[in-house]
Symmetry: C2
Subunit: 208 residues, 2 copies
Amino acid sequence: MDKTLKRMATMQRMQVTGLYLFYSKGYYNTSVDDVLKELSMSKGAFYHHFKSKEDFFIQIIENLLVRKIYTVLIEPIEGHEHTLDLINSCFEDALETAVHNELDYGFVLSNFINEFNGRNERVMKHLNNILKVWEVNLVSAIQRGKFNGYINRHVDAEGVAVFLMSAYMGVRTLMVEITPSARKYRFMSQLRNYLKSLEVKTATANIS
Amino acid sequence: MDKTLKRMATMQRMQVTGLYLFYSKGYYNTSVDDVLKELSMSKGAFYHHFKSKEDFFIQIIENLLVRKIYTVLIEPIEGHEHTLDLINSCFEDALETAVHNELDYGFVLSNFINEFNGRNERVMKHLNNILKVWEVNLVSAIQRGKFNGYINRHVDAEGVAVFLMSAYMGVRTLMVEITPSARKYRFMSQLRNYLKSLEVKTATANIS
DNA sequence: TGTAATACCGACCAACCGGTCGCTATACAA
DNA sequence: TTGTATAGCGACCGGTTGGTCGGTATTACA
């Protein structure tokens, strides 16, 4: 096998294991030795590939976390179909994955933000960047929805984005407890209610 | 001074300092020595009053955290005035406090849940209990609102409670970043929008 | 004033932390 | 086959962790 290819394969394997452990036990609560034990690897090998634990984690963020958020929360709302339906399906799918996750420790990004906030500025910058990318993409999806006539012109796109992100991050924390499925169902029902309030209003639609 | 009174005063002082440090640096990232340094106290004194670090933290939860949540998030919505107004004011005030907090590390309860979830079942039980109390009180406030004619009869009280808790917990995490004030404003605006959708509908109110 | 309980002190412990370093094992190019 | 760069090894280091323990200082009460 090509040398650089093998190197990348090893590093990838280390990062996947690292993300899993950091997510489940927390960054500060997971020692380098823990990661190495899981990998059946030596310390020398670790520090041959990464210059520090922090550097290892930052590479995990950039290589794995960013891609994860993209796949689950950004790409699904990029289409030109009815924006509110896209958002609804996207959240539905994301939460369903969480429900079926045997061991759910909450929204990965939100967990790390909580852990690093006020403690490690360098890591926080990387995490906040992901948050920003998500926000920007949500805002433009909503504006696209307005342009395409699916969303009321007077809706504040930035406000909706902040609200949606808040709701999602919060419910993911709530769902780590017992009966995540019931909470997901109730949450999604209220989310649809909220999304409906953003629709283009017709003269007759809301008379009850 | 009475002996037991002095003991309680000392323990109270220790717990207040402990909560501050655990909140700002995280539980696992704060050593007992850190707490003792802040208190100018010895290890012997600490372990004379508390049998372990974990025990110390659980007492902090029961004595300080529970009361805090009660004061900020439960009592303000207990009245018989318009329920949705009470909720709106309660969230507004709670977030305003967060904005003015020089060093904000997010919603205390939510931070600790994130830190202990899957790592310490005993502590999690105590934290989940607070969450449950909050939820129960929100649900009964909403049902009271329905009874008093402020909220639509068909509204799912449990669903609204989960949604409101999610949104609050999420926005508190989002607000730790830059410009918390702007995010608060946008969030509250959307929250009012959502709360409005729960009101008793009249034939003319929603024609636009 | 004597005494017993409580409050507090800080040296000390084993276990663990992130990181270093001198070493070997392997793989490819000449 | 040999030389050289990369991959991987694990003992070891200084520092920190939660917790212990033998001691002293302070207090309340007889």
